[in-house]
């Protein structure tokens, strides 16, 4: 086999077969592949998703000092950017960007974890196993989006003065000091829904289950679903926006809004964003 042949195979592999999980390079998703579509044009930046996440996933309230040191634990954060070429006033408003774990298909964090505490699940999620984590923090170092949050302090003993622990969600572990954590697409809800569906001899219906942020969002800016099912809303949106999970460069006309953040790094994220629109005549 010639060199060109070899190179072709290699590029084919890199393009069509991004690294999926630790075990099987050629796995195709048979039942579920959870994904999101997030419309930045209707996101108002109201932080309802963030608070919902705090409530659902037992996120600790770290307090002012630790927030100042950047030790805040919000799994989904709303970023506010001003336009690059802004005059005296932000005449076109601000741009809000909800940023959570992108559940990358070729996740940079997975390959580097020394103990395999973070790995790819059969549903295309990027799982984080708190009880395996030893806190080397390599995953966070390698995450382009910086959406992994490390427990620098022993929050279970400090962050929930009684009776606040009664509010904690029994389906989600309360993380102790020294472990990494991140957005899980509310996997506890997904598992429950999958179990229910299996008992009824079916797959999870579209819209049957949604993460806390999606359920809360007042403007329904986030769409969540299973893109293996071509009729699910999210799959149709991805198709409509000409975004392909396994392409790193989306060649498409400029009228469609879909794109994924930092695609050029080839992590193949599972969250599609839709561009913010502004009426330039206004």
């Amino acid at each position: 086999m010639s060199i060109t042949n070899l190179l072709n195979n290699w590029s084919f592999y890199r393009n069509k077969r991004p690294y999926r999980g630790q075990y099987d390079l050629n796995r195709q998703y048979s039942e579920y592949k959870w994904a999101m579509a997030l419309d930045l044009d209707v996101c108002t930046g109201c932080n309802a998703c963030t608070t919902a996440c705090y409530a659902e996933n037992n996120l600790p309230v770290v307090g002012k000092k630790r927030f100042q040191h950047g030790q805040v634990m919000h799994w989904i954060r709303i970023e506010r950017y001003w336009d690059e070429k802004m005059g005296e006033f932000p005449e076109k408003g601000a741009s809000f960007l909800p940023m959570m774990c992108q559940q990358c298909e070729a996740a940079p964090c997975e390959t580097v974890c020394p103990v395999g505490a973070t790995s790819h699940t059969n549903d295309g999620l990027n799982s984080q196993n708190y009880h395996r984590c030893i806190g080397s923090r390599y995953c966070s170092a390698n995450c382009p989006y910086k959406v992994r949050y490390f427990n620098f302090w022993n929050y279970p003993s400090t962050a929930w003065p009684a009776p606040l622990p009664d509010q904690l969600n029994p389906d989600v572990t309360v993380r102790t000091k020294g472990v990494m954590e991140k957005c899980s697409f509310c996997v506890q809800r997904l598992n429950e829904a999958k179990s229910r569906a299996r008992t009824e001899y079916r797959l999870v219906k579209d819209g049957e289950v949604s993460p806390a942020c999606v359920q809360a969002c007042p403007t329904s800016a986030i769409t969540f679903g299973n893109i293996v099912d071509p009729k699910s809303k999210v799959a149709m949106m991805w198709k409509n926006q000409q975004v392909d999970l396994y392409k790193d460069m989306q060649e498409k006309d400029n009228t469609v809004r879909g794109y994924r953040i930092l695609e050029d790094l080839r992590p193949f994220p599972s969250v599609m964003y839709m561009e913010r629109i502004r009426d330039m005549e206004a």
Binding site: Q22, R66, Q68, H69, G70, Q71, V72, R77, E79, Y81, L97, M99, P108, T111, V112, C113, P114, V115, G116, R132, C133, I134, G135, S136, R137, Y138, S140, A141, N142, C143, P144, Y145, K146, R148, Y149, F150, N151, F152, W153, N154, K177, G178, V179, M180, L262, L265
Partner: protein
């Protein structure tokens, strides 16, 4: 005009004395034993000063670590995403430190550079102890150090395994292998000397050395086996030394972060390692020379040779350093370029420039013979070089976190807390303490090899001198 045999002898002596020598050939072997063994008994006062100081420093580090263990990594004032700090930087520093020991003892051994003989022993010890220190930093860095054994591949009831794709697992393996084998190398090289200690020791020390010297009698068969073993382990050690730091480099090179994602990192790291190691050797050379009164053995010519070696490696490192900047610049990857500019202009700029100055400019002072032969100057320079190399490691780790790919998470205020500094300082205390203990307990100058050196030198040089004079005479004879 030489015409008598006596004149010829005198002439030979004259020329012979004019040449400056790595070591005096006329030292009696008993004298060598005496001098070296003396170091095990009555070092200068400075020894105890250094030892106590190191112990205190180490205790500070221990206190800090205990506090961090109890409270959580937060006390180190790391943050998201600035999750790595001085710990990793200093870890690389110590790994690097460990390399030149192998260079001197193994590589130069194979290349038959015999001037290494008086100084390779403590260099090898330095290797071992700095590796131990580096190992400590891996522990200190972990968020849940009590679970560190998850990294080890051992069969367990849970059917779980470490992730063999992770450079950290490679690290753990490589470092452990390097540590064990360099310890073995150090020990094997010491056996004949331990025998000497045994013969001169009394009381419990005698038992101790008897046990360690494995019944060394100095028979021909023992010597023969000894040579073979020593050479084999040396050859085994060299690729290890190279691999270890290359693997540490992959920790960074395989990641996506700007300023890390560079294919020239492995050679760059290895060069840096040898660099800092040689500088450290010069420092310890001078210290030991004074503390243990080794002026006879650790002579100026050897110091000068080491300095030249250091200078050469410094140039290699400088070159690779510039290669890194150039490739980043011309590679024109936005993130990497921004990170590079940030290093040169951002919050860490002073340290970055100091790193470049100390690493690339200061070594040129060693181009001058006057400097190379000036002990205080060399002491200062060697320490400066190591400061520079430590800064280099820090400048690899921190600025990338502070100014990475994702602008929203760039640092607000991240400065290593006193805990971090304390543990880093403690590591130096720990290293010095171990090293000083070693020099007190074991002969830090290889006696048997110095004897070889003296013997060879004397025979060799006299023969060359004599032959040259004979030629002259032959010429004269032909003329007349």
């Amino acid at each position: 005009m030489i015409n008598t045999f006596e004149d010829r002898e005198v002439a030979v002596e004259k020329r012979f004395i004019r040449k400056e020598k790595d070591i005096r050939e006329d030292i009696a072997w008993a004298q060598i034993n005496k001098d070296v063994l003396k170091s095990l008994e009555r070092p200068r006062m400075l020894f105890w000063v250094i030892f106590i100081a190191s112990l205190a420093l180490f205790m500070v580090g221990v206190a800090c670590e205990i506090y961090q263990y109890q409270t959580g990594m937060g006390v180190a004032n790391l943050d998201n995403p600035h999750v790595w700090g001085l710990y990793i930087g200093t870890f690389i520093f110590w790994i690097g430190m460990s390399h030149s020991g192998t260079l001197l003892s193994a590589i130069l051994h194979i290349m038959h550079a015999d001037w290494r003989k008086p100084i390779y022993r403590f260099a090898e010890a330095m290797t071992t102890f700095s590796l131990m220190t580096a190992g400590l930093f891996v522990m200190v860095h972990l968020g849940r150090v009590w679970q560190f054994y998850y990294v080890v591949a051992y069969p367990n009831e849970r059917w779980t395994w470490p992730n063999f794709q992770s450079p950290l697992v490679w690290d753990a393996t490589a470092i452990f292998t390097y540590l064990t084998s360099s310890m073995i190398f150090l020990y094997i090289g010491m056996i004949p000397d331990l025998a000497i200690c045994r013969d001169n020791a009394t009381g419990f020390r005698k038992k101790f050395y008897t046990f360690l010297s494995l019944g060394w009698m100095g028979t021909d068969r023992q010597w023969a086996n000894f040579r073979v073993t020593y050479l084999t382990v040396a050859c085994f050690l060299i690729p290890l030394a190279v691999s270890v730091h290359s693997i540490v480099a992959t920790d960074f090179a395989v990641s996506q972060q700007p300023g890390w994602h560079i294919s020239s990192f492995p050679p760059y790291f290895v060069a840096g390692a040898l660099y800092s190691g040689c500088a450290a050797i010069i420092t310890l050379f001078i210290v030991l020379r004074y503390v243990f009164r080794f002026e006879e053995y650790m002579t100026m010519p050897i110091l000068e040779k080491t300095a030249k070696l250091t200078f050469a490696i410094a140039m290699v490192w400088t070159y690779l350093n510039l290669v890194e900047y150039a490739s980043t610049w011309y590679g024109n990857d936005m993130y990497a370029k921004q990170a590079l500019i940030y290093r040169a202009t951002g919050d860490y700029a002073p340290y970055w420039w100091m790193m470049n100055f100390l690493g690339s400019v200061v070594p040129f002072s060693m181009a001058f013979k006057r400097v190379r032969n000036n002990i205080p100057a060399m002491l200062v320079i060697s320490i400066l070089l190591n400061v520079g190399m430590w800064l280099e490691r820090w400048m690899i780790v921190s600025p990338t976190f502070a100014n990475g790919i994702y602008p929203w998470t760039w640092d607000h205020d991240q400065w290593p807390s006193m805990i971090q500094w304390g543990i880093v300082a403690g590591s130096f205390g720990w290293f010095n303490m171990l090293f000083m203990l070693f020099c007190k307990i074991f002969p830090s100058v290889s006696m048997y090899e110095v004897k070889e050196m003296v013997y060879h030198r004397s025979i060799h040089t006299r023969e060359t001198e004599a032959s040259s004079i004979n030629q002259e005479l032959a010429v004269e004879g032909a003329a007349s």
